[in-house]
Symmetry: C2
Subunit: 684 residues, 2 copies
């Protein structure tokens, strides 16, 4: 199997590339019409786009799609796993064992879940920009923009009944209003066992070749009945073929391609190393605890998987930023663009933004580290503390006019906030103590035990003892306690003696002060970026797509393999490869197979394509995205990018970077021969 050292010279190659072929995470209201026609002779029809848009589903921080007219939703196992965890108990572990409803009636309702489907997009740039004037101070500008956006969202929501979000695109170069149809009755239909879904675990995560049945199927209901979803993707049983043009409709979370060199340098020198340090720490502390007992493991494994995923991602991105060739390339691009601006009478002032942005990095780095930890919650890594803080702030914020509230308490965010606050997901107090001990230790390290506020927080105790006292003393794990405090507002919260509420109160003032400063610095950056983006849009025309924002985008590419060192890596894997890989590792976890996969090996068509790669431009958040062919039929399910793709946060490359997907033929074959999901196959 390829070790880490096989990744030779990738990043240098990357930096030498011109802007390339299959780049772009395109807006649905601004698709790459010209590019697709000239490169692939493919003409995008509006009806094709509309159908794809209405078939795409936003699933938490990930993606999904309708695959039947009666509300079946296909997504990744790792996108839906939180739901399955909620439905699992120590006695019945649906995550490990998998689940298949025996019929539609047997589908399992997931508590506190919402799926969203994008219904319409409206450009509100002019309206938002009108709120901010050059005469305003930075704080005034922040407040004015926030107020206007909140007003637009509220008006839309009131008028249409649809969930309405104003999305900031092109770093503020544009503002679009996205309206979503929301589904809150979501039921689990099918989940493969984790062995198959996450075969290879963290070691194989972000790697290729891969062998994962990373799929899950849910169904949305309305009024207690399966929802009617006339826009859905037809399942193409043959699936993608080598060289096929394919499309991805999903919700890429965040890219940093329009960051300036100064911002990337700050990320390289501070942001990523700091984040990685905390990731390494959490991974070890959670893993060590999980290893002590199987029940510990069950409680912590979801969190560990998330941390490991973030760690590999950050490592790859830092590796990219530490490549001098890559950074030189970025620096030259920026120089050329700034020279162009300097010569343009219209856009000259936009060029001044680069220096301003560089200064905001310094200003942000100079903010009080202790207060940053208090505000970000890094000092109190605990689900119950987060709820205490939400209760405290909800009490204070709710009586304010909508536009003056902290963003997470404004109308448009309220429903999601309440969903989280009243979630019945189990909270494990032992795990809470572990996490809080770790984060209090970190606070002591970073801010120093001599700091008067730290001393008050620690109350004369060592981190473990203090965490124990706080978590054993709180009753916020009870939904009815949270409900009473929320309904009672600030009066009830003020009267509470819950130790976590008291802690949240103790730190609220410096935390809020930090946030205010931080927002002000951010606003300077936003304004500078906005001007630069406007200049780019004006000078770049239709070659410019915005950085990812967690909203629906269209990407395209070709199903094809790549070369790594002297090895040619084929575009697809098969079920045979799964069994070989498991055998090579002696079936040791995470390369072990569940009994059903061992027993049914003979029933499987082993040469069926299982996973495959394509050059489509994707990133985190695209997990669960459907891959469709020219006819708009489902040919694959995105579940990962390879390690070489992770630098794509900073710039597209197709030398070795690949989008990794489950093949539609492989999913079908597994549903049939392994899981005997006949009634489900009939519906899709």
């Amino acid at each position: 199997m390829p070790g880490i050292s096989s990744r030779v010279g990738l990043l240098s190659l990357l930096a030498l590339l011109p802007a390339v072929a299959d780049e772009g995470m395109w807006l649905f209201n601004r698709p790459p019409v010209r590019q697709l026609e000239s490169q692939y002779g493919f003409k995008i029809e509006q009806s094709w786009m509309d159908h794809l848009q209405r078939s795409a589903v936003k699933f938490g921080g990930g993606s999904g799609s309708f695959v039947s007219s009666h509300g079946l939703v296909l997504t990744n196992h790792h996108v839906g796993r939180g739901q399955v965890e909620k439905l699992s108990t120590p006695e019945k572990d649906l995550l490990a064992g998998g689940f298949l409803a025996d019929s539609q009636a047997g589908e399992l309702k997931c508590p506190n879940t919402e799926l969203n489907v994008l219904v319409s997009i409206e450009d509100v740039t002019a309206q938002v920009n009108a709120a901010v004037t050059p005469q305003q101070s930075v704080e005034e500008a922040v407040a004015a923009r926030r107020k206007t956006i909140a007003a637009i969202e509220k008006k839309s929501q009131d008028e249409t009944g649809l969930k309405s979000n104003v999305v900031t695109l092109y770093q503020g170069g544009a503002y679009h209003l996205y309206r979503y149809k929301k589904y809150t009755d979501v039921r689990l239909v099918f989940a493969p066992d984790t062995f198959a879904a996450a075969f290879g675990g963290d070691p194989d995560n972000f790697e290729y070749p891969r062998f994962c049945l990373d799929m899950m199927i849910f169904r949305v209901y309305e009024d207690g009945k399966p929802a009617e979803t006339p826009d859905y993707l037809k399942w193409n049983a043959k699936g993608a073929q080598d060289g096929d043009l394919v499309f991805v409709a999903g919700h890429p979370g965040r890219t940093n391609r329009s960051n300036t060199l100064a911002e990337l340098e700050d990320m390289r020198d501070h942001g990523l190393p700091d984040r990685l340090a905390q990731t390494y720490r959490s991974e070890v502390i959670l893993s060590a605890w999980a290893a002590r007992d199987k029940e510990n493991h069950r409680r912590a494994i979801g969190m560990i998987t998330g941390v490991q995923n973030g760690r590999k991602n950050s490592q790859a991105r830092l590796e990219g930023l530490l490549d001098p060739a890559f950074m030189d390339h970025k620096a030259k691009d920026e120089q050329v663009f700034r020279a162009k601006l300097a010569k343009s009478p219209e856009w000259k002032s936009a060029g001044e933004g680069f220096a301003k942005i560089a200064q905001t990095q310094k200003d942000a780095d100079a903010l009080n580290d202790r207060d940053r930890m208090l505000e970000s919650g890094e000092a109190f890594s605990s689900t119950l503390y987060a709820k205490a803080r939400t209760l405290l702030r909800a009490g204070v914020e709710t009586p304010k006019p909508d536009g003056e509230r902290l963003r997470e308490f404004q109308s448009q965010a309220r429903a999601s906030m309440e969903l989280g606050l009243f979630s019945e997901e189990p909270v494990y107090k032992d795990l809470e103590v572990l996490r809080l001990t770790n984060s209090l230790t970190l606070l002591c390290e970073k801010a120093g035990v001599a700091d008067p506020l730290v001393a008050q927080i620690m109350a004369g105790k060592a981190p473990h003892e203090r965490a124990l006292e706080l978590i054993e003393g709180t009753t916020l794990e009870k939904v009815e306690v949270r409900r009473a405090l929320y309904d009672g507002g600030s009066k009830a919260v003020d009267a509470s003696t819950d130790p976590l509420i008291l802690l949240a109160k103790l730190v609220d003032e410096p935390a809020r002060a930090f946030r205010k400063q931080s927002d002000a610095i951010g606003e300077v950056s936003v304004q500078a970026h906005q001007k630069i983006a406007q200049a780019q849009l004006a000078l770049g025309g239709d070659t410019i797509y915005p950085d990812a924002t967690g909203t629906l985008r269209l990407a395209y590419g070709v199903a094809k393999g790549y070369q790594s060192g002297k090895t040619v890596i084929p575009w697809t894997t098969t079920f045979s490869g799964l069994y070989e890989r498991s055998k090579h590792e002696d079936g040791a976890p995470p390369f072990d197979l569940s009994p059903v996969w061992r027993d049914q090996q003979k029933a499987l068509k082993l040469d069926t394509p299982f996973n495959f790669v394509s050059t489509a431009d994707i990133t985190g958040g695209n997990s669960g995205s459907p891959i469709v062919n020219r006819a708009g039929e489902l040919v694959g399910l995105v579940f990962d990018g390879n390690y070489e793709s992770l630098v794509m946060g900073f710039g597209y490359t197709e030398v070795q970077a690949r989008c990794v997907a489950v093949h539609s033929a492989g999913m079908l074959e597994a549903l049939k021969s392994i899981y005997h999901a006949d009634w489900l196959i009939q519906e899709i």
Copy 2:
């Protein structure tokens, strides 16, 4: 099983204790005669001490003991595992599978190994102190002391033929010359399988109750024949009993009990957090790599185990230092002592040392971080780089007079240095690339890529690419290449174009400059500590034992259990407990048993004591120490301390802190019923 949250309030209890019963890591030439007699009515005979001293073996950084008159040495599996790794291959993994010689003739020779037995101790304090005068500058004092010590060691070695080390005790309050008989022909006799030796792995490390057969048996040879070792410990088949007075003869590595408050604060605020951050990082990076492939795992597991061990240790110590009660206690003790000094005309000046020591902490923290990383090797975590640096410096240092060389190149250290340099232990280049990539990344983070020397080190490449180039380009993995460069001296090294030699050259000047500054700061601290220690010795009499220094010490205590929360934890475990714990965790690693343990369960006397705890004062380095009874017979084998014992680096406690050992009856039963080691049992 007890989770982390069961450790309630331990540290606060600890701080409230008076100086207690079984405290002390006593010098063999200054045993706790009065204490043992008054507390236990036990009168130490000189012959008893001499016999124990000559039966004790120094085994690398750990301990061991003779258990037959023909050179059999008992130690821990985790102390001897490096030897077994050297003897293992991918085809024959003696670590996992275990090993038992079928007879004495079948014992396996371990390459490049030495064991040492302490023959005599001589007080040379006056001689060493005479070398340092108040007129000397700090640098002169460092050089003068080093020169004198080197001269004493060389003279002793020349005169006696024995390995001779001057040991700094009581922070420089005393200097003793230790002479060792050295054995270099060491052969492996018996190693249990790792499943049994390290049952519970990292999760159970530093925990209790425990179920580990953490033993290994070697034999020393002289002139190709088993060595005659008339001083050896008789195996007591019944072993320790609840409440028994027991003694430990071993080599505790390092404690910090005489550190000042300022030093502990610095360790709390900088030393331990910094070390932990690097530990977390290494653990994740090594573990993630090991998880990708079983051969990766085999190559990295020894290193991972070491890192995990250090991590838990550091965590427990940091937790202790973050306990305000503990630190307040320490502060009060120090205040009382300083007040006493202030009133003493003779020792008044010693009291000034506290402020000086506090200043040295600040001075050390202010040293150049980049150069610290270069000198410590933290920037280049690679076995081959370390060898390159040794070759470079050996070339420069060897021609100098002995006393002027860097310490590791002086006569007394030369043999060990060469042993390491020419070790034939396999070096895995893929693992080297991984480690070097990580440490170069760290260097970039800490020193910044804009630093000119960092830029030279990185040579325009990203960390992974640079590491690959260095490790693929070097030929230092070949012993003959290292031999030629060593024998050729600085002329040969200067002519070398090996990339790692060139790298070592590039950074040598700033690294050496750092070391010089650091040594000078250290000297100020040493001198201050020395005076404080002299005052303590003068005022404290025979209640004062020195901090651990990796040299032979006597500890004593009682076999007894303890209370944790509401749970009473018994003094011993049995084989039954092993099988129960494995079953409770479904036999999942690291709670899995080897086939032989599964198959032979019925043959075992399941109620035989397996592991047991006592209050003896131990720390890291005591691993492998024999535990003997009043008659000087072997009743146990130290292999660990529980989590609560790890704070003992800063102060003794017997509330919950325990020394964890394999019981002599348990070892015997396993040798008999599991491994059928009849010929071996006959010899012991």
